[in-house]
Symmetry: C2
Subunit: 491 residues, 2 copies
């Protein structure tokens, strides 16, 4: 459950920091014939079986300690490659774990013992069509690359996970990823018009396409979004783009009390919709200040970073109103700037918050969300858990949409603290559920949160999830052990 | 396949204009016991079996000539009522046809012989929560009532089918309805955060809730949206609301050639995103002018109605640029107005287009959509079909999202013309498919378009639809005969 240092989290591979695990080199006869089939069917260089090279594909950023040793890693180059892999796997009843850039925070792409890890990291084409305002992209392209290609055509792909520079668009779709601008612009699913998906039996289907409206048949495109590789493997995505964002105005406010900050979030949201509304608590502020020294107020209990991208005088009016709301809620400092570089510096401070806190220890990273009026209760409740369990829990949040990232800091060499941290990890999710919230707003369930999924969904909805899974992947070979609490495949 | 006159389409019942059909009054013993169970279980007045009263619940606006005679109509008052109906139906293996306001244009709520028609028209509560910017609504509330309740809180529910004054929000969700503002603001699914759904076995489940971000488990909320009552019965909806729209500026342009109008649509869309971009052809313009006399140019081949809701000078700049694009594409008249009443008059002209054309005969109403660059080819191709089949086909369109409504006008007393019209009805869908488009952008497949669904989706995606249907409704009792070409239930 420990997150690695974010600085090691390049596309794939942080072999130096991953937990030691004895590499399995003996393969059974079936396994060997699967490897032979893969090697003879796929283009040269796609199949990796050397344990040193496959090692790097065993973890995502969650560094799941239970990650297995894969039989092989395939770095697909096309939909046809993916179909070939799935057909070989289906015939031999070998599971497949799809992965993009390996930046996932919930262990959704940890390898399964004896599985084929199917990496989409080489499939990175991006084709923008300004006349339909869409982009057709392969899953391995980075979010930042899609944004850049859109911008070259005067267009914008809004969803912006903090990891946008090193997360893949396929992973974004697989987890229905969020980000900072979602408070105004929505999440990944709101921008996906079509998909090519390879099904569990190796057939490839095209769902939706470059049309804003299409209601012919069930909403299957939407069903595959957020399915974390458990229903099919996404090999092409048609994204909706929108006109370029106007340069935002940025406001930063610090508060001597948490309640002032959370009330400000609520008051702002009641009357307007900023394009960013982020929250950092005292632990986070100090970790960031230690890291990048930009003169943040170390005594503040909370800081908000807010942006308005309304045009001209409307942004000025919105920011003026936000200043007044901050002041009414006891803000000690309020600072607004039109300067894009200065504004970006504050946003950067928020984006580096996770790695900054990570410098204080290993992290258990949460992703709980609540309806906005319960944000204060959630933040207070987390402080209570931290005190009761004698732990440091930093809280940062996409506050405007009620999605928080409590970071439980722990010393992995202290087993007692680790045990308390793991209890707290569950308590934070229980708290979110009790407040009418969700256990994961944007990172996905993966393998780390699946124990809490039945508590959140309830037995009936859990059973619905299983029915859909069984209908689309009857042998349970697609990303087994992710999302669903009971594995359907065992080695 | 004939649409009734829209003026008769109040919530339910246009008994005077519906096709004559011999009323079935003999009920079998099982049927009688189902009726007895319904009557003894549900609140007084909910169960209607009198053939004269149930008659009105047999059709929606599509007036499907194959609509059956229901066993009973239940007007549910709560989720519990809906559960009771589904449980009784499931036990007796009697199908259930859910319906909202009966304004559907694809026959999705035509009654099935011997079925229970489950009307949600009495469930009309709306609760707006400004602090989460959400509304929790019951399915029978009208779209216009939701808009009004949102507006009373300074908020806006954007999706706006032309029928918004008399269509239900439950029907909107069941069909993933669109409208005029979708070109900028998206469709129904983009505004649904949560649902309460009664499943085929009578269990009620709650999916999602008042949170912008939630990725715990499969995207089941999205799966039920657009499922046209075939997977479950929606009894409560949590909608996302956004800040009130700014007063729009309206521009009207007329063109001496269709190509000039469709090129204008494409040129505008390449560089900006208006909040409305509607198209009417000559037949439509003249039908509207006959109906409401507002001085439209009867000689124009096409007219565009365009709105910008950008703030202040941005709207003025956008409208000025649109004027230039219209002029460059040969527009004969371009007129822009900031006056809200004058602007609304032009939008009203567009909204009344269907009933206006309907005064020229019965209609076969299409809903085909294509990627924007193929809009001109679609409009030309439809003209070709009209000429070849010697028919009048009026074309109006939500042009900015490529969604068109060709209206095939026919005299129901002329069997030869009717036969040609029915051929043309299929040819228009075939054309859309050939152009990379969809057979239905926003009305749903219902019963009228299901014959073309396999051609559009292909065998593999059709089979996926069936697998999901079978997983969630194994006895095929929910709205049988809608969407899927082969009924799973027969009386």
């Amino acid at each position: 459950m420990h997150s690695s240092s974010i600085h090691d989290a390049s596309i794939i591979g942080w072999a130096g920091t991953s937990p030691s695990h004895e590499l399995e080199t003996t393969v059974t006869q079936t396994a060997q014939s699967v490897i032979d089939d893969l090697t003879s069917t796929l283009p040269q260089g796609c199949v990796i079986t050397d344990p040193v090279s496959t090692h790097a594909y065993r973890w995502d950023r969650a560094l799941d300690p239970d990650a297995g040793v894969p039989l092989a890693v395939v770095r697909a180059t096309s939909t046809e490659d993916v179909q070939a892999v799935i057909r070989i796997a289906a015939a031999a009843k070998v599971p497949v774990v799809p992965r993009g850039a390996g930046s996932g925070l919930s262990g959704g792409s940890s390898a399964v013992e004896g599985a084929i890890v199917l990496s989409l990291d080489r499939m990175r084409e991006i084709r923008v069509d300004p006349s339909t305002r869409t982009a057709v992209v392969q899953p391995g392209a980075f979010n930042a690359e899609v944004k850049k290609a859109a911008a070259e055509n005067g267009l914008w792909y809004p969803p912006d996970p903090s990891s946008y520079e090193f997360c893949s668009i396929g992973g974004n779709v697989a987890t229905n990823a969020g980000g900072l601008c979602c408070v105004k612009y929505g999440v990944t699913t709101d921008y996906v018009l079509g998909l090519t998906v390879v099904l569990a039996d190796g057939r490839a289907v095209t769902l939706g396409g470059p049309r804003l409206k299409d209601v012919a048949g069930l909403s299957l495109t939407k069903l595959f979004i957020g399915s974390e590789g458990t229903l099919g493997v996404i090999t092409e995505i048609t994204l909706r783009l929108i006109p370029a964002q106007l340069p935002p105005t940025t406001l930063v406010a610090t508060f001597p009390a948490l309640a002032g900050a959370t009330q400000t979030v609520l008051d702002i949201s009641r009357e307007m919709r900023p394009s960013m509304l982020e929250f950092m608590d005292k632990v986070t502020i100090n970790a960031v200040e230690d890291d990048i020294r930009m003169g943040l107020d170390r005594d503040a209990e909370a800081m908000l970073v807010i942006q308005s991208d309304e045009p001209g005088e409307h942004a000025r009016a919105q920011i003026a109103r936000i200043e007044a709301i901050c002041a009414a809620n006891g803000a000690t400092e309020v600072y607004a700037t039109d300067d894009p570089d200065e504004g970006e510096a504050f946003v950067h401070a928020r984006r580096v918050a996770i790695p900054a806190v990570e410098k204080r220890g290993s992290l258990l990273l949460e992703d709980v969300g609540v309806p906005l009026p319960r944000l204060g209760d959630l933040v207070d409740g987390i402080a209570g858990i931290a005190e009761r369990r004698d732990l440091t829990i930093a809280v940062l949040a996409h506050a405007g949409d009620g999605n928080t990232h409590p970071l439980i800091v722990l010393d992995p060499t202290d087993p007692d603290q680790q045990a308390r941290a793991e209890i707290a990890y569950g308590e934070v999710m229980d708290l979110a559920i009790a407040l009418g919230g969700t256990i994961t707003g944007e990172h996905g369930v993966g393998r780390l949160k699946k124990r809490w999924l039945p508590d959140y969904l309830g037995a009936d909805v859990m059973e619905l999830n299983h029915r859909i899974k069984a209908a689309l992947d009857p042998d349970g070979l697609l990303n087994p052990g992710a999302v669903y609490a009971d594995d359907m495949w065992r080695p």
